[in-house]
Symmetry: C2
Subunit: 443 residues, 2 copies
Amino acid sequence: MEFLTGVKKKETMELSEILKDGREGQRIKVNGAVHAVRDMGNVVFVILRKREGLLQCVYEEGAAGFGLSGLKEESTVMAEGILTRNEKAPHGLELSLRGLEILSQPAEALPIPIAKSKLNTSLETKLNLRPISLRNLRERAKFRIQEGVVRGFREFLTEQGFTEIHTPKLGSKGAEGGANIFKLEYFHRPAVLAQSPQFYKQMMVGVFDRVFETGPVFRAEKHNTKRHLNEYTSLDFEMGYIDGFEDIMAMETGVLQRIMKVLTEQYREELELLGVTLPGTEQIPMVRFDEAKRLVSEKYDRPIRNPYDLEPEEEALIGRYFQEEYGADFVFVTHYPSKKRPFYAMDDPETPIFTLSFDCLFRGMEITTGGQRIHDYHALLEKIEKRGMTAEGMESYLSAFRHGMPPHGGLGIGLERLTMKLLGEDNVRETTLFPRDLSRLEP
Amino acid sequence: MEFLTGVKKKETMELSEILKDGREGQRIKVNGAVHAVRDMGNVVFVILRKREGLLQCVYEEGAAGFGLSGLKEESTVMAEGILTRNEKAPHGLELSLRGLEILSQPAEALPIPIAKSKLNTSLETKLNLRPISLRNLRERAKFRIQEGVVRGFREFLTEQGFTEIHTPKLGSKGAEGGANIFKLEYFHRPAVLAQSPQFYKQMMVGVFDRVFETGPVFRAEKHNTKRHLNEYTSLDFEMGYIDGFEDIMAMETGVLQRIMKVLTEQYREELELLGVTLPGTEQIPMVRFDEAKRLVSEKYDRPIRNPYDLEPEEEALIGRYFQEEYGADFVFVTHYPSKKRPFYAMDDPETPIFTLSFDCLFRGMEITTGGQRIHDYHALLEKIEKRGMTAEGMESYLSAFRHGMPPHGGLGIGLERLTMKLLGEDNVRETTLFPRDLSRLEP
């Protein structure tokens, strides 16, 4: 009988192993995709793309002892050679080839020059050719950064006593109710796709006190803007036993601080490749909704058109204001008008037309919506009634409150939008692996 | 201007802080839900449910200096008192109450006695009352274990150089094709819900070499069994530059080893509460599909009815066989028949009616399907044609192969099913937070 006992070390090396001190002069094996072939006449440079970066291989017919004819870009290979110092090569090392085994061959040449440092094709082309365009080092680096964001989020919350949950995306009623919900048939019954894990994460506060989830949410919004998607990854948390909604903002501040720490420590190469300067998260200003409107109206001489709404242009100006006045990249805007928030938002007892809720703006764009929720069963029923809504279909959600819930609140962060602002991109599709919008369901 | 600077330490303590040495005799504050109230006449025990476990509070009218009348189970409270040694209390400590602030009150008493150590209600009732029944300590512990499984999976793969990805669940065509796909309308176009991230994770192997995803998948299967769900969490990975499909099984072995390590080290209390003995993962036997059928047929005197299919009963017998013969909880069954595998599975060049694929059985039930995939563009087209399928709708997927892909393979693990077998449950709904099946869309 044969047994598997775990992962065995391979003969082939990854870049981080190759770059360890003392490898110079060693004969090593390495695999990778042929990112570029540069024939200089007397030598040929074969640039291998590996998951941690590029490795320059140099082919000299005499030294190599084998032919190179017909080697195509995007072949995958197993190369063997001697590590040699070359200050002009990436990382200061190159592989002097002694052998090359072809593992796979492409059937056709690339439609776009992915080996260029920056793809200068349109966003539309990049998205149409996503499986190929992501092979460009800058393009793929964006999603390494995105990974780091999620890691920071999970790592911090786990340390803070949160439990990760997996809630269903198929249900019989949407959390926020109303329009913008994708509908489908589920074994001859009507079903919807979750707009958010809101109801579920609240119910789970009664079980675990603190929960988080990182998963897809679906919005059938007919927006066609640079910042909207119809499916995105939501980083959600919900926490009980709060003393006030400041606790939620404090937790988000901690999350953001950890994300920046993880990126600084573990994604340095990607940050450098993209030329990204991380935002400050030491202290994040907090301003009331009405006050924020007044401040930017005065400073930028812009009349307030609607006292109960924040236009994207106003968000941008609030971002600018706090950057100019306080050097802040993030700002919490608090006390949103009640009528702009869902029924479960807790109204401010002092001025009930406002809520104990907030948005977090990052460089002038909303990346988070959060706040304290109503935890009292009767208060919740009252709010539902006041809104002219029906409790039908919300029985399970309401049962959690009927049988006792601690004071609690939480938030949702749009992962792709946070990544977009972090990287200074101007379209959320740039930082979405496979975007879904009004006109795009493929690839 | 006010600023948020991160998470501040609260006055209230969590259980792990309370249990630190030297706290005895201290006056502390603690919040929690009133799990049970036990009136013994001269004293009243108030059991607080906290996220890390239970804390016994003892109320004596004289010492407390306040009244306790009307305190309801499932109220949430902030309790103050003096920590006192009591060997009969959970963890050997109890809180002698000096003050009690009620944070929230339930509107109605509980429909089921959740404070019992084991809920003896039917599964149906537990599921109907999910937000409440999960407040039972054993019920919630299952999902703490589930969290640990996911952490082990991610932690190990991240160390092994995998990148986490988030792929869309809405698309225009399913990965495996055919039936069992939920359909919906997407802005006047037909769309489907992803049965698996298969196509996307393969495409991303061309970008990152190694990728993983933990997310929901949707199967419109009309099965109503103890082991099927219509929505579940799939733990997927895909890896390039493999030398053979053994590499994938070796990686899964490493994943399973790490999961058991994480559970042992960080979820000890939950394991004890549930009385779980973790399975051995040191060495996992590997047996060919046809050989496995022959072995159990001989040992258990059971005729082979269909040489190309594995019935659930046969899976159970294979599990039993390897438990009896080798003391193994897991077994890899390899070389599944080609006609039982999707088109992208790589056929075994030696006997093309079988594939270089496998299932991992855990205590007699399939928890993983994986294998090597076809990486050559022409071979893939050929297989599609041979199956009488059309390449229409797969253009993006195929483009990755047209422009070069390394040899690769991967797998998908059903999280809920793995948790079920780990905990010795006999219905996957027991280990699904909010199950979706033929008859259940709520809660």
